[in-house]
């Protein structure tokens, strides 16, 4: 089980605001790792920086022994890393199928075809609605589409930003079941969640972020049982 992603001493600024203050963590192949923390702790910022959408002022991001520093965001996906962004951000005016095709933009049509079958198996709902315009899907379906779209690049590492946001509890359960399924089929997962309880229940390991710093880390079950985490993030 090798290290897939290694982030070292990441420093990110929004103008003069120091958002990420020296975050280090790693994700091993086959794991589900979660970053939890309150609103504004820097979870999404961390993920967007790893995905290349934001530039770090300093620090290192190593993905499978390749330094991602200076790699533009649109090249990151070809390296085998996909980011499923916060708020889903599906292409509202494009159909379900077109959204999925965009997910496979860097791959050949034949490869995409094969992955499409796989994505439809994982999300039968998307297959039923493949001609529907994405903007008319429900929130849960849009989340499925965003995840399916990210899967279309056949990533080794899938980063998910708040997949449960704004969804009914029954859908949250369904989305997390799919995350576990994707992981079992060989995709390593880096999960950012405000729903710490759900995230810790599926993750192998977890990091707790507080105002741009990692304050705790360790085995997900142990963290879920710790008094500090319970009090701060799991409602006592």
């Amino acid at each position: 089980m090798g290290t897939m992603l290694k982030v070292e001493d990441l420093q990110v600024y929004y103008g003069s605001i120091h958002a990420i203050k020296g975050v280090s963590f790693e994700v091993n192949e086959g794991e589900i790792v979660t970053l939890i923390g309150a609103n504004g702790a820097g979870k999404s910022t961390t993920l967007n920086t790893v995905g290349g959408l934001l530039k770090a002022r300093s620090g290192r991001i190593m993905f499978e022994d390749k330094d991602l520093h200076g790699v533009p965001a649109n090249k990151v996906v070809a390296e085998g890393m996909a980011l499923c962004p916060e708020g889903r951000r599906v292409f509202q005016h494009m159909t379900v199928l077109e959204n999925l095709e965009m997910g496979a933009f860097t791959r050949s049509n034949a490869e995409a075809e094969e992955t499409l079958e796989h994505v439809y198996e994982l999300f039968p709902r998307l297959k039923e609605r493949y001609r529907q315009v994405a903007g008319t899907l429900s929130g849960g379906e849009q989340q499925m589409l965003a995840m399916g779209r990210a899967l279309m690049s056949r990533p080794k590492l899938m980063m998910l930003d708040e997949p449960s946001m704004g969804l009914a509890p029954i859908l949250v359960q369904q989305i997390f079941d799919i995350i576990v399924d994707m992981n079992k089929q060989g995709t390593t997962i880096l999960l950012v969640e405000q729903n710490a309880q759900m995230a810790l229940s599926v993750a192998n390991r977890a990091y707790v972020l507080e105002t741009g710093r990692i304050t705790m880390s360790g085995d997900a079950k142990e963290l879920a049982a710790s008094e500090e985490v319970k009090k701060a993030y799991l409602g006592g």
């Binding site: 959408l53 649109n74 494009m94 965009m102 997910g103 933009f105 690049s153």
Partner: protein
Amino acid sequence: MLANLINGISLGSVYAIIALGYTMVYGIAKMLNFAHGDVIMVGGYIAFCSIMYLGWPPALAVIAAMVVCTVLGIVIERLAYKPLRNATSLAVLITAIGVSYFLQNVALLIWSANTKVFPNIFEKLPGIPLGDTTIAPVNVITVLANIVIMIVLTLFTTKTKMGKAMRAVSEDKGAATLMGINVNRTISLTFAIGSGLAAIAGVLLCTAYPTLMPTTGAMPGIKAFTAAVFGGIGSIPGAMLGGILLGVIEIFGKAYISTQLSDAIVFAVLIIVLLVKPTGLLGHKVHEKV
């Protein structure tokens, strides 16, 4: 009546082709490229010089105009607009107006303010008799060109990977980047297509209204922009519909109401449409689900 309708549709087709450039660039870069009209003028001059000075056949002249305008469009985007990608829209708008004046003045330096008479490149083609009038070949070709361009563009944006990527970029640049789409290259491509179309529009416009001067592109540019807004900016069929309606309204206004007031009538119609339907005839509101 029939002759006016045909002239209107023909003029409207030119507006529609120009409006496509506005609407595609607006859709993808969220900016109004006010220099677009002047690219038409450059296209007209390039075709004029190719035919009159170099003695090239019209078809070759059109291709030359398209090549020059396409490159010009890419260069304008790279030098003037790309550095302002994250600037306020007002700064980009002012830059676009600046580019417009720059092109007009460069044309003034090269070709002087004297009006050039554009040759009738469809001279040898026969007109089509219809009832008691004859449809001029330039009208037939303009309308046909418009239809072909619409079909090709629609197929491009719905069937090809690059075309779909273009739509993806116009909706959400960040998400498109995450898909591996090179946003800058896609924007360049959009400018290239829009400017290439402007060259075609320039040749058609100058053939139908054969006076060419450095300000030739300004008014049709503004009218085509109006057409794009009228039809719903960002929408390709909207540009087509808006352009043709505008052309017909303008010609009918000229024929039946007043020659002097025809432009005022055109803009009055725009204002009324925008009051009733602010997104234009075929524009759609963006609604997002959270």
